[in-house]
């Protein structure tokens, strides 16, 4: 018995010496900030993400705390300052933010996203050319598929529009629904879920290539062991009964369609984001 105890103690000591961060994952009281990009209203985002983060915190032993900015541009600015330990955002690829070096470790299991320029089903707008000189809504100037990609398409088509911003994706969808704008640049999946929830009929005037869905990424300062623990908990969530239940409840809030959950991912899968920024006509990104 004594030999066994000595054996175990030696192995633990060896593990701690080789992997000191293991101790911090296991016994750390540190709270790690987790930022979610403003795609929807803050109350809806809290209802969606807090149960998920609570589950991931319990499973990983890493205490995650949801942090949000008032708007997507403010979130992007905070990413540039490296304020968040973890993010769920594709603003990490923007030229101003890329130098911070957030590292992708997971993404939603959902299909890839596309940028779309949409209008209401009964709108007189039929082509991009019909938007010449009109106001077109966008979530924010920091949005990738919501602004950068569709605006690039408009510029390439020689269509000049006046952008109207709303702070987040669903904000501009609300303006579209109310008739404040005749067309809007949006994230295809957020638009689909919003339309389903709000019973809104719309037409797609233009659609981009596929881009990987918003990634979960970690700041370089976060120890690898912590990132690994969070990734494991996130990726395994839909395979556990209670995790699956939380994902389904969250999806029901925004009328999100399956599949639910997350898969492991890495930076290379987001190369077309970087290619876009190298070749875009849109200024000030």
């Amino acid at each position: 018995m004594t030999v066994s105890l000595r054996f175990i103690a030696a192995r633990c000591l060896l593990a701690l010496l080789v992997f000191p961060s293991t101790l911090s994952v296991c016994a750390d009281d540190k709270i790690w900030s987790f930022n979610v990009l403003n795609q929807r209203s803050i109350p809806l985002t809290l209802e969606y993400w807090n149960p998920i983060l609570k589950h991931v915190s319990e499973k990983s032993g890493v205490r995650l705390e949801l942090r949000m900015a008032k708007s997507a541009p403010e979130s992007s600015a905070a990413i540039e300052r490296g304020e968040y330990d973890f993010v769920y955002s594709n603003h990490i690829f923007a030229p101003a933010n890329a130098p911070v070096g957030y590292r992708v470790f997971a993404q939603p299991r959902e299909e890839a996203i596309r940028a779309e320029i949409v209008t209401l089903e009964n709108s007189p707008i039929r082509t991009l050319k019909d938007l010449q000189g009109l106001e077109v809504g966008f979530p924010s100037a920091a949005a990738f598929v919501g602004y950068a990609v569709p605006m690039n398409a408009l510029l390439q088509a020689g269509v000049s529009v006046t952008p109207v911003f709303a702070g987040n994706q669903e904000g501009i969808m609300g303006q579209l629904k109310a008739g404040r704008v005749l067309a809007a640049g949006v994230n295809s999946l957020v638009m689909r879920d919003y339309a389903h929830r709000e019973n809104l009929k719309y037409r797609v005037l233009w659609r981009s290539e596929e881009y990987q869905n918003l990634p979960l990424a970690a700041h370089p300062r976060v120890p690898a062991a912590v990132v690994a623990a969070v990734r494991q908990a996130v990726v395994g969530m839909d395979k556990e009964p209670d995790g699956k239940k939380i994902l389904e409840s969250a999806a029901a809030l925004i009328k999100q369609k399956p599949p639910y959950g997350f898969v492991a991912a890495d930076d290379k899968e987001y190369d077309n984001y970087r290619d876009y920024y190298k070749n875009t006509l849109v200024k000030g990104l």
């Binding site: 109350p43 809290l46 209802e47 149960p51 949801l66 942090r67 949000m68």
Partner: protein, 216 residues
């Protein structure tokens, strides 16, 4: 048979006086009962209204507090508390975040217009409510709200004083009308009484009252 002095006094009082006194007492009693039940009802309504209003204010505040808390905009939270506490029924609001930091807003105390006996009779207590601020199962501190009954009490007291004024005026008017009616109604009886007295004293001769006979 001996009789009570009070009963003797009552018997010796005039009919008009007894009539007016009894009517007046009956009117006063019914007015007093009406006032009493009216005030009781108002107090019950205000007690419920205070509780309902406080609950509604918390329902309004909680999601906003969570939203500002997750963003870390404590300035917006202070502005929110400052604006909300200005509602007349609130005395103070406190929000304590998940780390124990306190944000606080206080209203000016409304002076009580009602006297102490009236306030005690109404028994509308100050209300204190605490609720946890939560969103998606995550706690964002707790909010403490203290509602004051002073505006409700003042409102009931002012209503009460108005009602007393109207009742006093009404009672005076009714009393005056009844007194006039009684005086008018009793006038023939008084004339009869006066005539009978004169007749009894013999100041009215029989002959003078006999109508003149007609000679055929």
């Amino acid at each position: 048979m001996t009789t009570q002095p009070g009963w003797n006094w009552w018997l010796k009082s005039g009919l008009a006086f007894r009539l007016l006194l009894a009517t007046g007492l009956a009117l006063l009693l019914s007015a007093a009962l009406m006032l009493y039940f009216s005030v009781e009802n108002d107090a019950a309504v205000e007690r419920n209204r205070l509780a309902e209003t406080s609950a509604e204010q918390l329902d309004f505040l909680l999601p906003l507090l969570a939203e500002h808390a997750v963003v870390g905009d404590y300035s917006a939270i202070q502005q929110l508390l400052d604006k909300q506490v200005k509602r007349s029924n609130l005395r103070n609001i406190r929000w304590i975040d998940s780390r124990g930091n306190v944000m606080h807003a206080q209203n000016r105390d409304e002076a009580l217009l009602a006297p102490a006996w009236f306030t005690a009779r109404l028994a509308i207590p100050a209300l204190e409510v605490t609720r946890n601020v939560e969103a998606g199962g995550q706690g964002y501190g707790a909010v403490f709200l203290q509602a004051t009954p002073a505006p409700s009490i003042n409102h009931i007291w002012q209503d009460f004083m108005h009602q007393v004024s109207y009742l006093v005026l009404g009672l005076l008017a009714v009393f005056t009308i009844i007194a006039s009616l009684v005086k008018w109604a009793l006038a023939p009886l008084r004339a009869l009484e006066a005539g009978a007295e004169k007749f009894g004293r013999g100041t009215i001769p029989l002959a003078s009252r006999r109508p003149a006979s007609r000679k055929c």
